[in-house]
């Protein structure tokens, strides 16, 4: 498959981006100031992310569509309000996760934001499940940018009137240069922020305008350190087709009614794991000292029995130390449990830790 570029590619290049291949796209991993600096700017002021590689799918329909989608997405789509967003999953038969996603109720139906690496497969799964009863539109002409950080509301309000009144996990239509754009108050950094869906023609204009207003462009490198400090999962690493939402410690993302009633693929596994079959759990892992435990590092009990493995780990610039998450056997998942991490053949002390590592500041 040929490598794709987002509509902002030239813009990134002119801003000094270093590119890496990611999910079939050439994406900026960092700009000239570096990952740590970009991370801190996002925590202290605001950063702008190009996430146009993610899938933007519109499915048109009303109550009957909600019922059909509930068969593969375990959130309450009957109760969801217009312009409300929910974090959820595309489920497989085994209770595993094909993808994690944000679904938003819009006037025409539902908007779904999908991971870049999964989006084409997701489309097939959703399309197969819905039959031919509903119209699906996979937007190739739309970009997606995220403005994240404590100053993002104040900054975006200067350009787009009214955005500061959005509540967390809610969206609405706004106008930019006379054109409709859709903005949700959400993100992937543990900070207040917005995700802006805008046409490929207009995106560079808006990005450049925001960057002059005290905002710095942020690459995938800092996006990863920010989300890990916020305790958020990265699909393909912390969750995948073999992890279910209960063991991934994401039970909260399955609506109460859906947990009780089921009616979605993989529910029998979810139900049994909620009722005592659970054997492992995703937890935060805080290494002592400076050692960084990355994906694949084995986790041992104090008496040297293997009890799990790390699914992502890095250095957290705001925590100012190493952070990680992974899966451990259930009886080792209690906060404060002492464990050992095997890095390059040596074992290092670590503690099962509360997530997030960095406290969120969402506007509710």
């Amino acid at each position: 498959m040929e490598t794709q570029r987002t509509a902002l590619y030239d813009c990134h290049k002119s801003l000094g981006a270093k590119f890496v291949p990611f999910a079939g796209y050439e994406m900026p991993v960092q700009y000239s100031s570096g990952i740590v600096e970009e991370h801190k700017i996002t925590r202290n002021k605001a950063g702008l992310f190009d996430v146009s590689h993610m899938g933007q799918l519109l499915i048109e329909g009303s109550e009957d569509l909600a019922l059909e989608l509930e068969k593969i997405i375990p959130t309450d789509l009957k109760k969801i309000q217009l312009n409300q967003s929910k974090y959820s999953f595309l489920m497989n038969e085994q209770g595993g996760i094909y993808d994690d996603l944000i679904i938003t109720k819009v006037e025409k139906g539902f908007n779904i934001i999908l991971n870049a690496a999964c989006k084409n497969n997701d489309y097939k799964i959703i399309n197969n499940s819905l039959g031919n009863k509903f119209k699906l539109t996979f937007y190739k002409n739309l970009s997606l940018i995220a403005l994240q950080g404590p100053k993002s509301s104040e900054i975006l309000e200067q350009t787009i009137n009214g955005v500061s009144s959005l509540k967390f996990m809610n969206g609405n239509k706004f106008s930019y240069n006379g054109k409709d754009i859709y903005i949700t108050r959400s993100g992937y950094t543990g900070e207040d922020g917005f995700e802006i869906s805008i046409s490929n023609e207009l995106v560079e204009d808006l990005a450049k305008k925001l960057i002059t207003q005290d905002v710095k462009p942020i690459g995938l490198g800092a996006r990863d350190t920010l989300r890990l400090e916020a305790g958020l999962c990265l699909y393909g690493h912390d969750i995948n087709e073999t992890t279910n939402p209960i063991e991934a410690n994401l039970k909260w993302a399955i609506s109460k009614r859906r947990r009780e009633e089921g009616g979605f693929v993989g529910y029998s596994k979810i139900k049994s794991d909620m009722n005592g079959s659970l054997t492992r759990l995703r937890v935060g892992v805080k290494p002592e000292g400076k050692i960084i435990a990355r994906e694949g590092v084995k986790i041992f009990s104090e008496d040297n029995k293997e009890i799990g493995s790390i699914t992502s780990g890095t250095f957290g610039p705001s925590v100012n130390g190493p952070i990680a998450m992974g899966y451990v056997k259930l009886n080792f998942s209690k906060l404060g449990t002492k464990v050992l991490l095997e890095v390059r053949g040596k074992k290092y002390d670590a503690t099962i830790s509360d997530l997030p590592f960095y406290k969120k500041k969402y506007v509710r």
């Binding site: 991993v29 400076k290 250095f315």
Partner: protein, 126 residues
């Protein structure tokens, strides 16, 4: 006056008598990005030319550090373990990694001078 040479693994080596000081090049530090962890070899350890002699990690990934020559580690720079970011600030100066007692001076002949290394690094980053 000490002489500085460079390896294909992007280490620099500065020679004074029978002791050499080793670190990673400015180019290597730039390619790594923000250094957040450094592991150094043990003092007294014997290392083989192009063998692993330390680890340097950025937020993105871990990379091995190699020794350009064979010898015994005589000293290590604890200050970069305590403050890994120093590697980005002064990679070819204060942020040296270790000192090594040279075993075989002929190994130095195959290393590059600055002009050759700069060409090599430029070609490598494209």
């Amino acid at each position: 006056m000490s002489e500085k040479k460079y390896s294909k693994q992007h280490e620099w080596i500065s020679i004074e008598g029978d002791i050499a000081t080793v670190g990673i090049t400015k180019h290597a530090a730039e390619m790594l990005g923000d250094v957040v962890f450094v592991e150094l070899p043990e003092k007294g350890k014997s290392v083989e030319k192009e063998g692993q002699a330390g680890v340097v990690e950025s937020t993105k990934a871990a990379s091995d550090v190699y020794t350009p020559i064979t010898g015994e580690i005589t000293e290590t720079n604890q200050s970069i373990v305590d403050d890994p970011a120093a590697v980005n600030k002064d990679p070819e100066g204060a942020a040296w990694f270790f000192k090594i007692k040279i075993k075989n001076k002929s190994e130095l002949e195959n290393l590059m001078n600055k002009a050759d290394y700069d060409k090599f690094a430029k070609k490598n980053s494209n």
